[in-house]
């Protein structure tokens, strides 16, 4: 589903991704771990289509297409979803209005019927209740005044409404309390399907107890330096990155 080959990306004259290879087949969950500053979020932004990243070499194929050639909104409509490490606050734009606009834009692209207000309300209610998001939050401007954990839940709410094929979750677990961790993981697991893939970026093994990955990759200085099964995460938990021969916390 997702194939990244020798990806080299430069930001502000600084090379962040230095020949990154990663393949994620449909139906699988892949975890990406790695020290702060190793390039995990950069990778997620490049996949989502953020401006300002210069691809020097390599490329990304998604469902057989050149992902980097299409606009961010087009990627989203084609099924790429990024749950942000730091969801953006948008004053003045109501959460509910935003959700409806987004969902209908994506549905329209997929040739599905756009929801009317009532249908949409019902759908959102079911999904948000499962994630413990109050109706009051939906009336507030998007992410404005949301707590860290509320923002993360809101990301997963968006994901469950947009029904992506490829979901990239950038540290969705950070900021979630112990109970929320499970609730949100349930939301993610509900999305697992044969024709979908999930990339989970995290620092913590505990999150992977809830969302059990098929593979774990370690990113360091812009490259995947080690891949393995879910045991790799346990190994890292016990011995740190030093244990696999990396400098601990090698943030630039």
């Amino acid at each position: 589903m997702l194939e990244i080959k020798n990806l080299r990306v430069v930001v502000d004259d600084k090379e962040i991704l230095k020949g990154l290879d990663l393949t994620v087949p449909a139906g699988e969950v892949h975890a990406i771990m790695g020290p702060n500053g190793s390039g995990k979020s950069t990778l997620s932004y490049v996949l989502a289509g953020r401006d300002g990243y210069e691809v020097r070499d390599g490329g990304v194929t998604y469902l057989g297409k050149d992902l980097l050639a299409i606009m961010p909104e087009q990627r989203a409509r084609e099924g790429v979803f990024l749950a942000f490490q730091y969801p953006v606050e948008i004053p003045g734009v109501g959460s509910a209005t935003f959700l409806k606009t987004a969902v209908n834009a994506v549905r329209k692209h997929r040739g599905e019927k756009e929801f009317d207000a009532l249908e949409f309300l019902k759908l959102v209610r079911a999904k948000r209740e499962a994630l413990g998001i109050s109706e009051e939050m939906m009336r507030r401007p998007l992410n404005v005044g949301f707590s860290g954990g509320e923002k993360k839940r809101n990301e997963i709410l968006q994901m469950s409404l947009l029904e992506p094929r490829l979901a990239i979750l950038d540290e969705t677990d950070s900021g979630l309390d112990i109970d929320a961790l499970k609730v949100v993981a349930d939301g993610v697991n509900a999305l697992r399907r044969e024709d979908r893939a999930i990339v989970v970026i995290t620092h913590y093994q505990r999150w992977l107890d809830y969302i059990v990955p098929d593979s774990v990759h370690v990113l360091s200085e812009g490259r995947v330096v080690r891949s393995g099964g879910k045991e790799l995460a346990l190994e890292l938990e016990q011995n740190g990155y030093g244990g696999i021969g990396l400098q601990a916390g090698a943030a630039v």
């Binding site: 989502a48 606009m71 961010p72 909104e73 969801p87 953006v88 734009v93 987004a102 401007p141």
Partner: protein
């Protein structure tokens, strides 16, 4: 040369030089007090001239193109306007109102619907009042909007032909708003008109005034309205204005407000129209506990120019003022915000806050902001802030990653930016209309881009 300095500070206006020709046809020409008032006014205007950018308060708004137009006073006798013409220029009204329609500044009774009024409430055309009951008008006209120093108020006084007198008696709470609709209808020669609106809200009364300024056609015209409002103790005045003049219009408006103890004034001005517009508001907080709220929004494109100039005088202790102006400038449009707050000696416990925020949608758009706090008392809370920015890239990206295309994402952000202003408006109908104005502006912008 002795006159060179004066010439630099003013722009000659041929139209005003022909005042003598037009004067006999003006309403109330036979009233000695009015004749005097007008004489004084035109003398004042002649001395001042049209302010040039050398005059500090007009530094950013240049009237020289206006001065070049061959304006004529309105001869409206044969301008046919139907109710449908008026309706086509306005959103449907979602509630009752006392409605007066003016075409090129003249009241059109056949298009208006004032209907039944509660006893002692007066809502009538100015020209008619000058004919029927000039004695009622004399003590009020020109009392709030003083001639001193303001050329365009003086010009309005000299030339005013019509407008509206609104008087709400003690403790009367007028439920429905008064809706004044000014329709500009440019003809073969560009018309100029000078409406005068006089509002007296007596002790403890409540009144809501909505002004809609619209234009039919692409041609040039000039509207120079002056509104004077006096709120007696405890009165509450809501004043809402939608400026959607035609693209060739000059709209130079001035509002003067005098607030007595415990009275409240809320103003909201939404400007999307006219080629060049200026809305100037001056509020005198003259009685303890008086409260004023000035809000404004503007959305400009092309080469439009919009100027919001305000001055709030805290004359006595314990008054509050709040001021927020927000706007969006696209293409090569220009905005001006000048906000002056003066806290006079002895006006302790004054509380004044001012905020101006502008979103520039293009590199060629420009805003000049000039906040001015002058404080002559020591125990006051005053603040001002001005922010100019562009749409936020992170916000845009976030929306786009959710499948919302770039144009729609921009639209949402602009709508959000302006929408925050709607929360400030205390009158639901106006709030809705403001939001509808924003949406309409955005869809026109999208159509233009497509």
């Amino acid at each position: 040369m002795a006159t060179s300095r004066k010439q630099e500070r003013s722009i000659p206006l041929a139209y005003a030089e022909r005042y003598r020709e037009f004067a006999p046809a003006l309403p109330g020409a036979d009233l000695p007090w009015l004749k005097n008032l007008r004489q004084e006014a035109i003398a004042r205007f002649s001395a001042l001239g049209l302010p040039s950018p050398r005059v500090e308060a007009w530094k950013y708004t240049n009237l020289s193109t206006l001065a070049k137009q061959p304006f004529v006073p309105v001869d409206d006798a044969d301008i046919a306007v139907s109710p449908a013409d008026v309706a086509a220029l306005l959103p449907p009204e979602d509630g009752p109102s006392y409605r007066m329609v003016f075409v090129n500044g003249r009241l059109r009774p056949e298009l208006s619907a004032v209907g039944e009024l509660p006893p002692n409430v007066r809502i009538c055309g100015l020209a008619q009042a000058l004919t029927d009951e000039p004695a009622q008008l004399e003590p009020h006209l020109g009392r709030v909007a003083a001639l001193n120093g303001h050329a365009l108020v003086a010009l309005n006084t000299a030339f005013m032909e019509d407008g509206c007198l609104i008087q709400v008696p003690r403790d009367e709470a007028l439920e429905a708003p008064i809706h004044l609709i000014f329709l500009g209808r440019p003809g073969a020669t560009p018309p100029a008109y000078h409406p005068r609106i006089v509002v007296i809200a007596e002790l403890g009364s409540r009144v809501t005034l909505i002004e809609s300024h619209v234009g039919a056609g692409q041609g040039v015209y000039w509207s120079n309205p002056v509104t004077e409002i006096r709120a007696e103790p405890g009165a509450v005045v809501g004043h809402y204005k939608f400026q959607d003049e035609g693209p060739g219009a000059y709209h130079i408006a001035r509002t003067d407000v005098a607030l007595a103890a415990g009275s409240r004034y809320e103003s909201f001005v939404m400007a999307v129209g006219a080629g060049l517009s200026r809305n100037e508001i001056r509020v005198a907080l003259g009685g303890e506990g008086a409260d004023c709220r000035l809000f404004g929004g503007y959305m400009m494109r092309g080469r439009q120019h919009v100027d919001n100039t305000t001055r709030i005088d805290h004359l006595v202790p314990g008054c509050t003022s709040r001021e927020t102006y927000k706007g969006v400038l696209d293409n090569r449009s220009r905005g001006v915000f000048q906000g002056q707050i003066v806290v006079h000696k002895g006006a302790q416990k004054s509380d004044g806050r001012q905020l101006s925020r502008t979103l520039l949608l293009s590199r060629e758009a420009e805003i000049d902001t000039k906040p001015e706090l002058e404080i002559y008392a020591d125990d006051v809370t005053c603040s001002h802030g001005a922010a100019v920015g562009e749409l936020d890239d992170d916000q845009l990206f976030y929306l786009r990653t959710r499948g919302i295309d770039e144009a729609a994402a921009r639209g949402l952000l602009i709508e959000g930016f302006m929408g925050e202003l709607a929360d400030e408006i205390g009158f639901a109908r106006v709030r809705d209309r403001m939001l509808a104005t924003v949406s309409a502006w955005l869809s026109e912008r999208r159509e233009e881009a497509a």
